[in-house]
Amino acid sequence: MSRLDKLAFWKRPIPDEWRSPTFWKDTTWAYIYVAPALIILAIFTFYPFFQAFRLSLYKVSFTNFPGQFIGLDHFRYIFGDKYFWRALWHTLVIVGVSVPVTLFLALLVANLLNKPLRLRTFARTSFFLSYITPMVAVIMVWRLMYNESYGVLNYFLSLFGIHRIAWLNDPQYALPSVIILSVWRYVGYQAIILLAGMQGIDQMYYEAARIDGASGFQVWRKITVPLLTPQIFFLLIISMIGSFKIFTEVYVLFNGPGPLKAAETLVYYIMRQGFFGTQHLGRAAAASIVLFAIIFVVTLLQMQVAKRRVHYQ
């Protein structure tokens, strides 16, 4: 059977198991069990997903639905809007900086937590706390820490003779403020995932390396990291997707998109278009389609890289 024939499913012979009534009975029950979840997914995920495509081609509002078909006008608007491109740039900066930095720090922390330290359990719990604490509460505290006059960050900087920084009011520090917060929040979570991966590595590799006289760094680079690639790949995917969708940190930290919209991300731009002020649902939908396309392409690229680089034991 040629490759094309394999794709043409209607040409394939009927599998033998399909002829068994037990198969259909089991299959039907399987679909019944997943039906409630599928129905909820259909209503709250699949329907809005496809509706967004539709909304991006219509001029709609809450009181003007289904609205008028206007083709690609919304896409023309957002591609001609300088704030869209700024938001995209800000998002790419956040992704490009916070993802590798978080992962690198998480690797270091996981390595540390894997050692036989005293109070190791306490240390592991402490690092994970940043992730499990409610996001808004965490960000409110960081707002106080970033305070220009009374914040603890500027206090520590003053101990080194550095003048206080207007973290939340100076456009050039707006994105770094978001990145620092984001890295702090997710290092612990990623470290725990990597730690679990480290503890799953077979000790025979380390014993063999010791016998061969490998140094600690060589062991880490040639054994630990390669065998952690499944976890690293998983974290890269989810942290990249999460970073592309950053919103709450910006909204709560700045009570807006930041000074001169210096911290406006794509999702904030989408929210601003669709729900703040005059509600342009079509434009918001168009921008969300673009964001979806970007994340989709990036994830596909990551999958391609993973095929060559991820080592499974």
Binding site: N147, F275, F276
Partner: protein
């Protein structure tokens, strides 16, 4: 045409009154959607209790809808679904989207009643009446500013004098004022109004922001930049960091609390006067949905008028920190006694008759955002005043429908 409308409305009221009498025993429930916090619930309940004493067969059901944006979405969804409450509160720029669903109120108000509502709070096509309103006033820290400014020049001079580097480390320790251009462009809009400027012309067909009055107001606003803490944070969050600030009268509680904790004294004064005394009023209005059942509409109209009675609007203001929305409310004993005992509300009370509200334009949300961006770009030096104004005018013109 107007006489016909009035006659129809009077006829409707008469029929409904007869219907009331006939069905007096049947209770009617008014569903009132709002977003007031728990702090105001007690006052709302008290008002509805008093109303119930007058009309024992009418109950008011207060339905909390969450934040303002959640309330707006609920309203829009209710109109689309045809499942509207009796009445609800609106910001002015929410109204155009649901205007067709609202009951025109003018036929139900006498000339005297309409004249009693503070003029700056009335709109053509009276679809709503004002309810909870606050006004921009000047908060000043008395420890730094013993006498508040009364003119723009005095305000500017005090801003300069109060922008100080107390410890000589090259960083400013206190600013003369605080400006929140993106979050609160109403600070600029108050100055614009004082200079006889407007954003749009009367019939909303042209942008007038870049005329002489608008440019003058913008130049004064921009001149404050070196002496202002420019931020998106609440100005009372760093009490003592600014000597004075234009802010909403509804925020006095937070200003006072923060000042007391810092050992400072904050007071409120009328805004310094430009070419005329004026200020910017913010807050919501009440509207009644015309698709609600007839008896609920009639009950809602009675409740609306009850809320606008002098003592009741004054009571609501006294208990919440908002302001009375009628002239008789400002003159009522309830309010005047409160003002005498609470000098911090003198300023807002005096300013209310000369306050103006935001435009009820359907794209006002985007217009406000464009104005905020313009103010921010000027204050932070991202654009020159001319360029920022030109960009804003271009955006405003694109929003005219």
């Amino acid at each position: 045409m107007k006489l016909r409308k009035t006659l129809i409305a009077l006829g409707l009221l008469a029929v409904l009154a007869i219907g009331f009498a006939a069905t007096a025993a049947e209770p009617i429930t008014i569903e009132f959607w709002h977003r007031f916090s728990e702090r105001h619930n007690e006052t709302l309940e008290q008002l509805s209790t008093w109303f119930n004493w007058l009309y024992p067969n009418i109950n008011v059901e207060w339905v909390y809808q969450g934040s303002y944006s959640a309330l707006q979405q609920s309203i829009n969804g209710a109109v689309v679904a045809g499942e509207v409450p009796t009445m609800t509160i609106f910001y002015e720029d929410w109204i155009p989207a649901v205007a067709d669903a609202l009951l025109p109120l003018e036929p139900f108000f006498s000339t005297t009643e309409l004249a009693d509502i503070i003029p700056g709070l009335l709109y053509k096509d009276l679809l709503t009446v004002p309810f909870n309103k606050s006004i921009m006033v000047l908060y000043y820290i008395e420890d730094y500013v013993p006498v508040p400014p009364t003119t723009w020049q005095e305000f500017y001079d005090l801003c300069v004098a109060n922008t100080v580097d107390e410890d000589g480390d090259g960083q400013i320790d206190r600013y003369g004022t605080g400006l929140r251009p993106a979050a609160n462009p109403e600070q600029f809009l108050a100055l614009l109004e004082q200079n006889n400027g407007t954003i749009l012309n009367e019939d909303w067909t042209a942008v007038t922001l870049d005329n002489e009055a608008g440019v003058e107001a913008l130049e004064f606003y921009a001149s404050l930049a070196p002496y202002a803490w420019i931020t998106s944070e609440y100005l009372n969050s760093n009490i003592g960091y600014v000597a004075m600030a234009i802010d909403t009268s509804a925020g006095f509680y937070y200003w006072d609390t923060a000042a007391k904790e810092a050992g400072l004294t904050v007071k409120a004064a009328p805004l310094p006067v430009g070419k005329k005394a004026a200020s910017f009023i913010q807050g919501t209005n009440i509207g009644i949905f015309k698709d609600a059942p007839a008896e609920e509409i009639a009950a809602g109209l009675l409740f609306l008028k009850f809320l606008l009675e002098a003592d009741n609007t004054a009571y609501w203001a006294v208990r919440t920190g908002y302001l009375p929305v009628t002239l008789s409310g400002l003159e009522s004993t309830v309010w005047t006694d409160y003002v005498a005992a609470n000098p911090e509300v003198v300023a807002s009370s005096e300013m209310m008759p000369v306050g103006v509200s935001s435009l009820a334009h359907p794209n006002y949300g985007d217009m406000r955002a464009a104005l905020g961006t313009m103010c921010e770009e000027i204050l932070l030096g991202a654009e020159t005043l001319e360029d920022a104004l030109a960009i804003a005018v271009f955006e405003l013109e694109s929003l005219l429908e």
